[in-house]
């Protein structure tokens, strides 16, 4: 019976060998276990034995050839039935009944533990890198909140959001959403707080002259704006005149320990926010200007923390140089007073006994009648006017 004699695997990591010498030639007989050839491996020369008593029919491989395991080396004729029915050597895929299942099909042996226990549903899954990037780009938590249920927020997502936020400023729907929020607060304030209103015209000449001298002597980075003088005047007045700095809660007035002045900042496309300048009565103009400038920058970049709005104990609002002359504001609850200023306008005015052109500012007060009344209110406005008349003392 014809049998193929193949190069056997001799070691766990042997893949090939070089035939160095045949020990038998066609026509020779070979006994079971007798060496039939010698091959060179990594480990050195090794005899290859025949597994049967057989006769050599033909030699296929010539000495010197490097062959891989399973290569047919010779043909043998085995007397009678081969001692071992030829099981197809594994040169071909093992013909055994059950081929080993391929590992790729293997179910994951050790279940890969969930990469991280999923945080509470809805909680913002912000990767650390994304968190830091969001901070760098000044993305407000509110903007990110919308991502809460959209799976893990990565760096690219944050960058995409920031770009989107930059491109559309306050998106229309966000603006309208904000307007409705402000509207409802105002309606409630109007209904619940018994407002009284006072107006007073203030000669802004001294303040303006002082400011021009102050700014002319300083580089751009250190100059002040007119609104800041008003804010400081209101802060000092609120510290001295009782009843305008604090909150009305649970049916009674709570006097605030410090004077945090909510200062109006216009939002692009309408609406105002008034984040607080903390301890405005005690800080010098230079510090106040720096802090106010920072507040504006953060509002523009869209990442104000809601907590910063709640700190104000009194508010100063204005329409700036572009607005009208007189503004009648509504109190921001739970505060008890708000001061409004219009545009500084050049008007004829009796100044030091002579009618002349003076820069005039209409200052209005809206206050809570449950806490103060017109007489105290007018004292408050006069204090503001006196402070503006001596700007060097602000």
């Amino acid at each position: 019976m014809q049998v193929e004699f193949r190069l056997p695997s001799l070691g766990a990591d042997m893949e090939s060998a070089t035939l160095t010498q045949w020990l038998k030639k066609p026509g020779d007989s070979v006994r079971r276990g007798e060496a039939i050839a010698v091959v060179e491996t990594e480990k050195g020369l090794i005899d290859i034995e025949s597994y049967d008593d057989a006769a050599v029919t033909s030699l296929v491989v010539t000495p010197g050839a490097k062959i891989t395991v399973g290569t047919v080396m010779a043909h043998l004729t085995v007397e009678g039935a081969a001692a071992a029915p030829a099981h197809v050597p594994v040169g071909q895929p093992a013909a055994s009944a059950a081929a080993p299942p391929t590992p790729a099909a293997a179910p994951q042996p050790a279940a890969v533990p969930a990469a991280a226990a999923p945080p509470a549903a809805g909680r913002l899954r912000l990767s650390p890198a994304a968190r830091r990037r969001a901070h760098e780009l000044g993305l407000s938590p509110e903007v990110l909140e919308q991502q809460a249920d959209a799976g893990v927020v990565h760096v690219e997502d944050v960058e995409r959001l920031a770009a989107a936020a930059r491109a559309t400023a306050a998106p229309a729907e966000a603006r309208s959403a904000m307007r409705s929020v402000i509207g409802s607060a105002m309606a409630r304030a109007k209904r619940e707080i018994p407002h009284y209103y006072l107006g007073h015209t203030v000669d802004f000449g001294a303040a303006r002259a002082w400011l021009q001298r102050y700014n002319a002597a300083r580089p751009v980075q250190e100059r002040l704006v007119e609104g800041l003088l008003v804010t400081k005047a209101v802060a000092l007045a609120a510290a001295h005149v009782e009843g305008f700095n604090g909150y009305f809660r649970d049916g009674r007035f709570e006097r605030a320990g410090a004077v945090h002045v909510g200062t109006a900042i216009a939002l692009r496309g309408g609406g105002l926010v008034a984040p607080a300048l903390l301890d405005a009565d005690r800080k010098d103009l230079r510090t106040l200007m720096h802090e106010f400038s920072n507040l504006v920058a953060r509002v523009r970049a869209g990442h104000m923390r809601s907590s910063e709005f709640a700190a104000a104990t009194i508010t100063v609002t204005s329409l700036g140089e572009d607005g009208v002359e007189t503004l009648y504001p509504i109190i921001n609850p739970p505060q008890v007073a708000i001061v409004g200023t219009g545009r500084v306008a050049e008007r004829p005015w009796v100044y030091q006994g002579v009618v002349s052109i003076r820069p005039l500012l209409a200052v209005t007060l809206a206050a809570d009648h449950r806490v103060t009344d017109g007489r105290i209110g007018s004292r408050f406005l006069q204090a503001i006017a006196e402070l503006l008349a001596a700007p060097e003392r602000l």
């Binding site: 193949r6 056997p8 001799l10 042997m14 491996t41 597994y51 059950a98 042996p109």
Partner: protein
């Protein structure tokens, strides 16, 4: 030690020992071919030439005795009575193998036969054997533990620690040193300052003597005497069985460390030739007996190969089973 007289040589006893040795020889020759055909992988250490040690020593043991072996364990397992089908299936790594296919050639286990496996770390089995024997002693059973190892183990620290402890606690332990003169590629005289292993065992206070490992009758007689000594409570015994392996240390061995003449010299006094020559001289057997026994052995091996070929592999889902014990399983 007052050794009992050697048992009489009869046809029945001779043919039984010959059959056992032929079963081992045929099993392992077939393994060489299967390894060549990539059916068996990993390491494969054959005891070709040392069959008399396996068959001779196992005759002296009772089913309740314990056996612990090394990675050259096929002969020990077959002689101990492990069935060939699961043994061959284990070589294939099939689930129906002696260890669910997980151990392969070097790690064959059979709790029922109290065959506590091969150990791939040289000398690793000796401390285990101390424990098996200690349990027999503490449980007051008459059981004996047989610990098989090669001359390589003599160089390991565990050898010295184990012999001392066995002697110190007078454990029912039979040390069976299969001295085939080579520890992998290092001849014993290149590894040991004193190569008389049994003499060194005596230094530890053990009864020890040396036996011709190629004469299966001599091995059996020595083993029976040793077991009687141990089972009689006279303490551990150390048998040095001088033998030789005709094939490489393992499959991938160019045997640069010894020359062919030495191998051929030993093959002339191999265990099978030694036994058949003696039986034929005594007229207790002839060539037809040999052909019959060899044919039966080959048939048994082929049946085992078919069993292994047809068996399936263990499903991947079982990979992590038995990392920790499953107490409710038998």
């Amino acid at each position: 030690m007052n050794a009992a007289p050697p048992a009489p040589v009869t046809r029945e006893r001779g043919l039984h020992l010959l059959r056992e040795m032929l079963r081992i020889r045929c099993f392992e020759d077939r393994c060489v071919q299967l390894y060549g055909e990539l059916k068996i992988r990993g390491f494969l250490h054959l005891c070709n030439g040392e069959e008399a040690v396996a068959v001779g020593t196992m005759q002296a043991l009772e089913p309740a005795d314990a056996v612990i072996s090394t990675y050259r364990e096929h002969g020990h397992a077959i002689a101990r009575g492990l069935a060939m089908n699961p043994l061959m299936a284990e070589m294939y790594g099939k689930e129906s193998g002696t260890s669910r296919g997980r151990g392969g050639s070097m790690h064959i286990f059979d709790a029922h036969k109290r065959f506590y496996g091969g150990n791939a770390i040289v000398g690793g089995g000796l401390p285990l054997a101390l424990g098996l024997a200690l349990a027999q002693k503490l449980k007051r059973t008459s059981g004996v533990t047989a610990c098989l190892f090669g001359d390589g183990a003599v160089a390991e620290g565990e050898f010295h620690e184990s012999l001392n402890l066995a002697a110190l606690w007078r454990l029912p332990l039979l040390f069976l040193c299969e001295n085939n003169l080579y520890a992998m590629g290092t001849a014993i005289e290149l590894a040991e300052a004193r190569t008389d292993v049994s003499a060194r065992a005596r230094d530890y206070g053990l009864a020890a003597w040396s036996v011709d490992g190629m004469d299966v009758f001599a091995v059996e007689d020595a083993a029976r005497n040793a077991v009687a000594h141990v089972r009689g409570g006279q303490g551990p015994v150390f048998l040095e069985l001088r033998t030789y392996r005709f094939r490489g240390h393992s499959m991938f061995d160019a045997q640069l460390y010894r020359d062919k003449a030495e191998i051929e010299a030993w093959q002339k006094k191999g265990p099978l030739i030694t036994l058949t020559t003696r039986l034929k001289e005594l007229g207790l057997m002839d060539e037809t007996d040999y052909q019959r026994l060899e044919g039966e052995a080959r048939a048994e091996v082929e049946a085992a190969v078919d069993f292994a070929e047809r068996s399936g592999f263990e499903p991947l889902a079982e990979l992590e089973r038995f990392v920790y014990a499953e107490p409710n399983r038998v």
